[in-house]
């Protein structure tokens, strides 16, 4: 299953993108992952990031590999950020 989240915005230079899980009350937040990158080094119209390319909680890998191996071995296996290169 792919989850697609629209993030329409223009960026230039150093960008921080963070993805947060929102609890049922739509107030409490839990950080899922964060990515910092620079637009000059994005060569194609997408940035494909594996689990080792995104900043995640310290204990996610260890904790999950011990207790939730089957579920989480594929967690965050790929994150794709799709860009459209604007012509200016």
């Amino acid at each position: 299953m792919l989850v697609k989240i629209d993030i329409p915005c223009r960026v230039q230079g150093d960008v921080v993108l963070e993805c947060i899980h929102l609890s049922e009350d739509l107030v409490r937040e839990e950080m899922m992952f964060r990515v910092m990158f620079h637009t000059a080094f994005v060569r194609s119209n997408s940035l494909v990031l594996g689990r080792d390319d995104i900043d995640i909680l310290w204990d996610t890998k260890d904790q999950f590999s011990k207790n939730f191996k089957s579920e989480v071995s594929y967690c965050y296996s790929y994150v794709t950020v799709i860009f459209q290169v604007s012509r200016q």
Binding site: M1, L2, V3, K4, I5, D6, I7, P8, C9, R10, V11, Q12, G13, D14, V15, V16, L17, E18, C19, I20, H21, L22, E24, L26, E30, M31, M32, F33, R34, V35, M36, F37, H38, T39, A40, F41, V42, D52, D53, I54, D55, I56, L57, W58, F68, E71, V72, Y74, C75, Y76, S77, Y78, V79, T80, V81, I82, F83, Q84, V85, S86
Partner: protein, 230 residues
């Protein structure tokens, strides 16, 4: 601090010192006042960028150029000191790794970063940064290492239009049930070139209408019906 400075000056009697301080807030710090009184040049940098223990590429470039020219002045014994205030260790480690790669004293981004991080207990890094910052830091170290491949460094800031974020596998939160993702994007506003400071450029609206709840059980529907998920 006075004691350390005296010790350093005794140990390197003919040396000049330049200090890079990664400060906690926005204001000039007490330590830079103290060190300036001891005849040391102090340059201050922030310790994070939108919560990430990294600095914008322009600032990294400034740091690398200043350090390099200070250390390569001929006929002088120049010493470079790096100091961080509370919470600044992750960014100091990154900048030191960047400098070692820039000066070709080390090679290999991961190896260099890990070597620097080993200088302090690993628990300190985990305490100061809730997320493991190394993937983003390694990306920026690669930007530094690859500077010879391009003619211009730092490169001009290419504007991009972000379209969407695709998660190819559902991250499991809510006790393993699924997730309700919200995305925020920070950076300088391309429509305001005069102000290069970072700001919130996009945020998913936190309303029931905009925030979708993806459940693990939806896998089977997605496979069979190829419904709304891509």
């Amino acid at each position: 601090m006075g004691g350390i400075v005296t010790q350093l000056q005794d140990y390197f009697p003919d040396a000049s010192f330049m200090v890079f301080n990664f400060r906690e807030g926005d204001r000039r710090t007490q330590i830079s006042d103290i060190l300036s009184l001891c005849d040391m040049t102090v340059m201050e940098y922030p310790r994070q960028y939108e919560g990430c223990p990294l600095l914008p590429l322009e600032m990294i470039h400034h740091f690398l150029r200043s350090s390099e020219s200070w250390l390569s002045l001929e006929g002088q014994q120049n010493v470079l000191l790096m100091h961080c205030e509370r919470g600044g260790w992750p960014v100091l480690a990154f900048m030191l790794a960047g400098l070692l790669l820039y000066r070709k004293q080390y090679s290999g981004e991961l190896k260099t970063l890990e070597m620097v991080y080993k200088q302090a207990p690993r628990e300190l890094l985990q305490l100061l940064s809730p997320l493991n910052p190394q993937p983003s830091q390694l990306r920026y170290l690669q930007y530094i290492s690859r500077r010879h491949l391009g003619s211009e460094w730092p490169p001009s800031e290419t504007p991009l239009y972000l379209d969407c974020l695709i998660l190819q596998v559902l991250p499991l939160f809510d006790g393993g049930k699924g997730c309700r993702p919200v995305v925020r994007v920070y950076g300088p506003d391309p429509s305001n070139p005069a102000n290069r400071s970072s700001q919130l450029l996009f945020s998913t609206s936190k309303t029931q209408k905009h925030v979708r709840h993806y459940l693990q059980v939806m896998y089977c529907y997605a496979i069979h019906a190829e419904c709304e998920f891509i």
